[in-house]
């Protein structure tokens, strides 16, 4: 890298060292490009904005070996809880459960993903905030502030991995502003003294506890768990924090729990942007809306995007052509891999949000004690439609 006092030049600049950005930096560097990864944080991964659940095969597909350094606990069950407390249990072996497998220690995980990027050859600058971006003829100029120093970074490609607060896309002319109805407010306590039904089960609570979303308990080993919820603000008069206080006060599992950490974050749940690539610029992760609209999970899908974007960036650098035409391959590949399942999750979410507390209770009652091993998808739908006829219209197509 050609470092003058205040101007840095590089092939690829990645803005944001979350899971999506670090994965992009790693794969761009592996492909032979000169890469700089910047993050405004002084410690990558901290504070976390996450309940920390990921699927095992998601990580496996990305070629990431599980490490005891960043896995807090393993999960193989899901407990779904209706408003009046009726629960339905699902097992990992019988049902494909997104975002279930490992509960991570994100602060450590994110840092390790950045280390992998560095090992692949990427440079990293922490405490470096991107403040402005201008598209030039054949490069991108980014103004940034690094520990009080104003610097300019000239790169051939910028990968915007700047999370739910993303500004990079809009600087580059992409329509990436989240509508408030598509932005969930997530709040969470990490707690100790949580009395769990099963330390290997993630729990989801539905209904008016979390208007527009759901509440969760994600265990992290022993009596520790992330206890949080996501809401859509226009669907309630209380803020997310107050909903969380109510939930923790009412929930059986948290009667004796004490919080040691408070986490906050926006979750873009409107589905991926229509366009997340333009000349010299690609968006990955939350910045591109690559979050499962049903669960709010975005670690794996963002990392998948990072992998593809990194590879495509390295190729474009090798070919000397960083135009939209050449970068578009990233968008096409990501959409091919994900758009079908995202459409299903969007439909399922619309249906879920249309249900009242009473409807949720009667569905839970119908499925309580069900042996999901023996129920095929059509039988499942049939059973659901009996108690909730509108499921036919809302969900029929996705089964």
């Amino acid at each position: 890298m050609n470092m003058k006092l205040e101007t840095i030049e590089t092939d690829v600049l990645v803005i944001g060292a979350g899971p999506a950005g670090s994965t992009a930096a790693k794969h761009a560097a592996m492909g032979g490009a000169e890469v700089l990864l910047v993050d405004k944080k002084s410690e990558i991964g901290t504070p976390k904005r996450c309940a920390e659940g990921v699927s095992k095969n998601g990580l496996e597909k990305l070629g990431i070996k599980p490490s005891h350094r960043w896995i807090a606990a393993e999960m193989d069950r899901v407990r779904l809880v209706s408003p009046s407390g009726i629960d339905v249990w699902l097992n990992q072996e019988n049902v494909h459960l997104p975002e279930t497998g490992y509960n991570l220690e994100r602060k450590v995980f994110d840092k390790h993903m950045a280390m992998d990027a560095a090992r692949a050859g990427s440079q990293i600058m922490v405490k470096t905030l991107a403040k402005e971006l201008t598209l030039k003829d054949d490069y991108v100029l980014v103004k940034a502030e690094s520990m009080g120093n104003h610097i300019e970074i000239k790169s051939k490609i910028v990968i915007g991995a700047d999370g739910p607060e993303s500004r990079v896309g809009r600087w580059a002319g992409l329509k990436s502003t989240s509508k408030p109805k598509n932005m969930e407010s997530g709040v969470q306590f990490e707690m100790v003294g949580v009395e769990l039904e099963d330390t290997r089960a993630v729990e989801f609570y539905f209904g008016s506890v979390a208007p527009g979303g759901y509440a969760w308990i994600f265990p992290k080993g022993d009596d520790i768990a992330n206890v949080g919820l996501g809401i859509i603000n226009s669907m309630t008069s209380k803020n997310a924090y107050h909903h969380l206080l109510d939930f923790v006060r009412e929930c059986k599992a948290t009667q004796k729990a004490v919080s040691v950490e408070f986490n906050v974050g926006g979750i873009p749940v409107g589905g991926p942007l229509n366009e997340f690539v333009t000349d010299n610029v690609m968006l990955v992760g939350d910045a591109a809306g690559q979050v499962n609209p049903l669960t709010g999970g975005g670690i794996i899908s963002g990392m998948q995007a990072g992998l593809i974007a990194g590879e495509v960036a390295a190729n474009a650098i090798n070919e000397g052509n960083c135009s939209l035409e050449n970068l578009k391959e990233y968008e096409t590949r990501w959409v091919e891999e994900n758009s079908l399942s995202f459409q299903k999750y969007l439909k399922a979410k619309e249906y879920l949000l249309s249900l009242s507390n009473e409807e949720l209770d009667s569905i839970a009652r119908a499925f309580q004690g069900s042996d999901f091993e023996r129920i095929g998808p059509m039988e499942l739908l049939g059973k659901l439609v009996k108690v909730s006829p509108k499921a036919m219209v809302k969900l029929g197509k996705i089964f």
């Binding site: 405004k40 904005r49 607060e165 993303s166 502003t177 408030p180 709040v187 603000n233 974050g265 926006g266």
Partner: protein, 55 residues
Amino acid sequence: MIISEFCMYCGECAGVCPRNLIEVGENTLKFGQKPCKNCQICIQVCPVSALEVEG
């Protein structure tokens, strides 16, 4: 905009600002130069209600 000291710098407000005016640093929140149209979307989405209009 009045920013309370309990702002968590999570950046949700920045993601929804239709004019892309909000800069979220590690421990700073700044509203940019372009005129704010006072749509107050940032105030509505804040998970901890840390934003308030001046005056």
